[in-house]
Amino acid sequence: MRFGVVVFPGSNCEMDCFHVIDKVLMEEVEYVWHQQTDVSGYDCLVLPGGFSYGDYLRCGAIARFSPVMEAVADYAREGGLVIGICNGFQILLEAGLLPGAMLRNVSLSFICRHVDVRVENADTPWTNAGRQGRVLRIPIAHGEGNYTAGAATLAALGEQGRIILRYCDRDGEPTTASNPNGSVDNIAGICNEGFNIFGLMPHPERASEDILGSMDGLLIWDSVMAHYRAKG
């Protein structure tokens, strides 16, 4: 399977994603420069975390105008697999490839720590290796991860099973106390209608090696690889 990791000026998790795909998953991986306009050779595109263009405006608001984003949109429209992690999720929101928007964390501070998230729908390209209700321990690291959306959007997300991850406590309960940033309905990750685009605030690449304290992030990588292989 061939992954492309998109590099915007100011991305800073692209090397981490590259490392995990290359050294842990042992899959093919290349960087995709933000000025590239052809992304056709990849089986999955990763929009990594970081501070694209410094996030000096809204997070992701400038990156979405990068030449590569038009290619990403075309790629996704044809069913291509796209995962946006943290800043990558923010860029997908700004680009309109996923619905909703991000506010600053309710604490108004950047937060970096391990959190628990519950798999809400295990029947997706991104979560099929697990079961519904499974609790994953994965780090977050963001200042603007407070997801919000209009009532109609939220209803649609819920009805169509597009809420993929929710912040929860250790027992899997999505409580207020376990919500690190104030996200509506404890939402940590969502998909588009076709389920081929996935945006999430937690960093699965930071939880993919035993030595880093958690391997729960592998569920997401394993799922997308299984999905790709099943598809043939």
Binding site: P9, G50, F51, I111, A141, G143, E209, I211
Partner: protein, 700 residues
């Protein structure tokens, strides 16, 4: 000119020296350059002589002091660059930008040497938390570090924070950065090769930070300090991130001859230092410098606008260098060339505005300042803690200690820092040392900062030795072998004999401890004039230690790892309450003598601990420091979620045993079976079992 040199912070003698060097009166631009380059901040004129006694060599030291950062060989073709610096005065005036640009500056020092920055640590000192101003500065500094460091994608993995009234008027914001590199990518801040191009990369030059080194960093604070806000630079982490990537790419492709960051004293410093180090001259045309606003040559030369680098490039590689910068969206222009001789010549639209020997800027005056033992020492040292009446409820004291601002859990702070990015952090903040794996090897780095200024205030010589010993002990507790250190020496006004005496004693202690523990000092920084309204801070030397863990599996944390283990004290507990957190918190005193430091004993205990870990006997280790055994044990329990019943027979009264801050001690855990072997290993050194029953699960 007479009024101007004074205004710029030069003395009359220094002005005369300049006239003598040039054989004429300096131009305004030249005078501005000398004032910055000869400022205390840039020239180390008061400290240079004393610092020469520090040991700087070891077989694995690739670069000692004098460059942008020190570098050590860590095996496998890899090297580690690191340095610590202060950004105290800017942070006291504008906390967010001061702290942010402090990160920017030290990170540039690291990648300037060819290393990829992999971690930052931030030693911070604030005044009393009761003051609203302190709370404003505290939150501003933390946000600044987070705002800049997180954006760069460099994890902030450690640091320490202390609050004390002595910092009410003058906070300390130090920062240490660490980078890793292939040995062959090592590059120095040198200009060589006559005819090579001098390229200025990065941000446009503006009026921010004009005269920061001389006006802010080399003077005390007074009622005009707020007016110095325009001297604080404004940080742009996005451009810094692009600079990191562009410079590392240029170095990897072998396109640069020399590289130098622009920090204090801006273009003046970068040009004169690179030319002086390379033994060449340089000719610059200032009209090529990209400007943000209309500026005159004086302002351009001394501006401290951030996120700029100076590169020396062979003409045939110029095109590729400029193209690489453009790909990263970074302005880069040729502003001059390397010339024969040693003259730094600077033109402004063809008109000569500067013509001075580069070396005369880079090697400023040297002072041997008078030193005199301060009078307060006799009084504080003569205090005997035995004369105190202790509270009856020692459990309450322990809870007060660990809920006080100095010893409480610092999660609130470090969770605002991205401490995980780059996937190297395998022991997170909150333990004795942070541990960073070196990808592609089985090795790791253990890094820690330390500096208890109360000890140094009570005895600068002993206190500074303790800072070195404790930083090393932190690394040992994590399973590392201490390799080398950097430091930031924060003191008051060196022109005052009492302050200079403190400094002299501290440097003597630093040198002695480093020599005895065989730790070369590979880089460092001196920050003087940390005073406000004539009152100096406690002398605050901060030590940053880098150690190597040979095999990742031998890394340790402070957490009690499992039920059923023995809790063991390695080292001797003495009756030493002087300078302790207990004395300060319960009795409101900073008095007595600091704990004794026997460097021989220290070395022995550290060696025993390293060996005990290496042989798999020691399962967890925690340095016993502020708050004494009581706090150390509590931290081990909390980190591990385990309890322990401690029963010890000592000749000490309970308060002294619990809260004395005796040095050269570790709280470790081991299996009962290993106790005998551990005692043999420790030879005559004390190995004291502390629990009658093994530690147990505390039930959440």
């Amino acid at each position: 000119m007479a009024e101007l040199y004074e205004e710029l912070g030069l003395t009359e003698d220094e002005y005369r020296d300049i006239v003598r060097i040039l054989g004429r009166e300096p131009s305004k631009v030249e005078l501005g350059m000398y004032s910055l380059m000869w400022s205390e901040h840039c020239s180390y004129k008061s400290s240079k002589t004393l610092l020469s006694q520090l040991p700087t060599r070891a077989s694995y030291v690739l670069q000692g002091p004098g460059e942008n950062a020190g570098i050590i060989d860590v095996g496998g073709g890899l090297a580690v660059a690191f340095k610590m610096e202060s950004h105290n005065h800017p942070s006291a005036v504008e906390p967010y930008q001061g702290a942010a640009t402090g990160i920017g500056g030290i990170v540039r020092d690291i990648f300037t040497m060819g290393a990829r920055p992999i971690a930052c640590l931030d030693p911070l000192r604030f005044g009393s938390l009761d003051s609203p101003r302190t709370r404003y500065l505290f939150s501003g500094v933390i946000s600044g570090i987070a705002g800049y460091g997180n954006c760069l994608g460099i994890p902030t993995v450690g640091g320490d924070i202390y609050f004390d009234e002595c910092y009410d008027g003058n906070i300390l914001v130090n920062v240490m950065a660490i980078g890793i590199m292939s040995k062959e990518h090592l590059i120095r801040g040198q200009a060589t090769g006559v005819g090579n191009a001098v390229v200025l990369m990065g941000n446009r030059t503006g009026r921010d930070g004009i005269g920061g080194a001389s006006i802010l960093a080399s003077q005390e604070f007074d009622e005009t300090s707020q007016e110095k806000r325009p001297s604080v630079q404004v940080g742009d982490p996005f451009t810094e991130k692009l600079l990191i990537e562009a410079c590392l790419e240029l170095l990897e492709k072998g396109l640069l001859v020399g590289l130098q960051d622009l920090g204090a004293a801006g273009i003046s410093c970068a040009c004169s230092e690179t030319a002086a180090r390379g033994g060449v001259g340089m000719k610059i045309e200032l009209k090529h410098v990209p400007l943000r606003e209309e500026m005159d040559p004086f302002e351009i030369m001394i501006s401290e606008s951030q996120e700029r680098m100076l590169a020396i490039v062979e003409p045939k590689k110029l095109e590729e260098v400029l193209a690489t910068c453009e790909r990263w969206g970074l302005p880069a222009v040729v502003i001059g060339e390397v010339t024969e001789g040693d003259m730094l010549e600077i033109d402004w639209y063809g008109e000569k505005v500067v013509e001075v020997p580069a070396s005369s800027l880079a090697s400023g005056p040297v002072y041997d300042r008078p030193a005199e033992r301060p009078a307060y020492l006799d009084e504080v040292q003569s205090f005997d803690p035995a004369s105190l009446e202790h509270p009856a409820d020692l459990g309450r004291v322990l809870l007060d200690l660990v809920s006080g601002p100095n010893l409480c859990d610092k999660r609130l702070v470090y969770e605002q820092y991205d401490h995980m990015v780059q996937l190297n952090t395998v022991v997170y903040p909150g333990s004795d040392a942070a541990v960073l794996r070196i990808k592609g090897t089985s090795r790791a780095l253990a890094v820690s900062v330390d500096g208890n200024s109360r000890y140094v205030y009570l005895d600068p010589y002993v206190g500074t030795q303790i800072a070195v010993a404790e930083a090393a002990r932190n690394v040992v507790a994590a399973g590392g072998v201490p390799m080398a250190l950097t430091n930031c020496l924060n003191f008051g006004n060196p022109e005052k004999p009492e302050i200079f005496w403190q400094f002299k004693e501290a440097v003597r202690g630093l040198a002695e401890a480093a020599r005895h523990l065989e730790l070369p000092v590979v880089s460092g920084n001196v920050s003087f004039y940390n005073e406000s309204f004539g009152a100096a801070i406690y002398p605050t030397p901060v030590v940053g230690m880098v150690g190597l863990i040979g095999t990742l599996s031998t890394r340790r944390t402070i957490a009690f790892p499992a039920e059923g283990l023995l809790v063991v004290m390695l080292g001797d507990s003495l009756d030493e309450l002087g300078g302790s957190e207990y004395l300060k918190l319960v009795h409101g005193m900073v008095a007595g003598r600091p704990p004794t430091m026997d460097l021989g004993r220290e070395k022995g205990v550290q060696t025993t601990c390293i060996e005990g870990i290496r042989r798999g006997m020691i399962q967890s280790a925690h340095d016993c420091s502020e708050g004494g055994v009581a706090v150390a044990l509590l931290e081990c329990c909390c980190a591990g979620g385990l309890g322990a019943r401690i029963e010890v027979e000592t000749g000490l009264d309970p308060v002294s045993w619990l809260f004395s801050e005796s040095q050269s001690r570790f709280v470790v855990t081991m299996r009962e079976d290993d106790l005998g072997a551990m005692r043999t290993l420790a030879e005559a050194r004390s190995v004291r079992r502390m629990n009658s029953t093994p530690c147990w699960h505390s039930g959440g």
